[in-house]
């Protein structure tokens, strides 16, 4: 079994990595909140989803976290009446992405919270190591 404190660092960093990947997906969704298709009646950007999975790491003897899958949301697209738009169909309706900005912002806050918690664990493990070194110092 490896040193639990260095295992802590590994686990927390896997958490940080997973959460930053999640933030990337959120930013992709937010950036493309109004991205329509370019041909008439074509599908717009569809919202991306991310799922995590815990993975047992034999070297650390602990469950790390990793991104399982980045999928797409199957929710129906919103339609807006905008006859002058290049992606409008014959009736003048444009399909808009199924991105809910409010939902993405809430997801972003949750990501931020989890990221901070991982960071806190890492800082504390570091403090514990420094305390051990401090015992040798004087």
């Amino acid at each position: 079994m490896s040193d639990p404190l260095s295992a802590t660092m590994h686990i927390a960093s896997s958490g940080l990595q997973a959460q930053s990947e999640r933030l990337r997906v959120v930013s992709e969704n937010l950036a493309n909140a109004r991205s329509t298709g370019d041909a008439a009646g074509s599908d717009p950007y569809s919202r991306k989803t991310i799922t995590f999975e815990s993975e047992f790491d034999r070297a650390q003897a602990a469950s790390l976290v990793k991104v399982k899958d980045i999928g797409t949301d199957n929710a129906p697209f919103l339609v807006e009446y905008e006859p002058g738009h290049p992606a409008a169909d014959e009736n003048g309706y444009v399909k808009m992405p199924n991105v809910n900005v409010l939902l993405e912002l809430a997801d972003m806050r949750e990501t931020n919270r989890s990221y901070e918690a991982n960071l806190k664990v890492m800082t504390q493990a570091r403090e514990m190591v420094m305390r051990h070194i401090g015992l040798l110092r004087d």
Binding site: M1, D3, P4, L5, A7, T8, A12, F52, S114
Partner: protein, 125 residues
């Protein structure tokens, strides 16, 4: 020489705290993993109560028998403050409270070790 085995006790306790910190890190890293159950280590009291004879690993091929290390045990679902719809039972607040406990106990251990060390040094001088 050392009637209370203080140094060993402190080192054991710090080892237990490190393991607990690793377990908390696991819980927090998996705070958004569907179906993940929060874990915790067994209490330190039950670790030091287990005074059993363990075989020593003297060869690289021996199976690891590290008896001092507490085993991580699964927490029952009811111990967690929160169970989300995805079956995840990690509450970040609860885990942060636990890290606070670990930090406090660890700092106490370090201070006690330091003051005992000072006492030894004073007798040497």
């Amino acid at each position: 020489m050392e009637p209370v085995y203080l140094t060993k006790l402190i080192s054991q306790s710090n080892g237990w705290l490190s393991t607990r910190q690793a377990t908390i890190a696991e819980n927090i890293a998996n705070a958004n993993t569907p179906g993940f159950k929060a874990k915790d280590v067994e209490p330190f009291v039950s670790v030091i109560d287990k005074t059993r004879l363990a075989m020593t690993a003297t060869h690289g091929n021996h199976m690891g028998t590290n008896s001092d290390m507490p085993e991580t045990s699964k927490v029952r679902k009811s111990d967690s403050w929160l169970v989300t719809h995805s079956g995840n039972s990690v509450s970040i607040e609860q885990e942060l409270v636990k890290t606070g406990e670990v930090a406090r106990a660890h700092s106490l251990n370090a201070s006690v070790a330091k003051s005992f060390h000072r006492m030894y040094l004073a007798s040497v001088k």
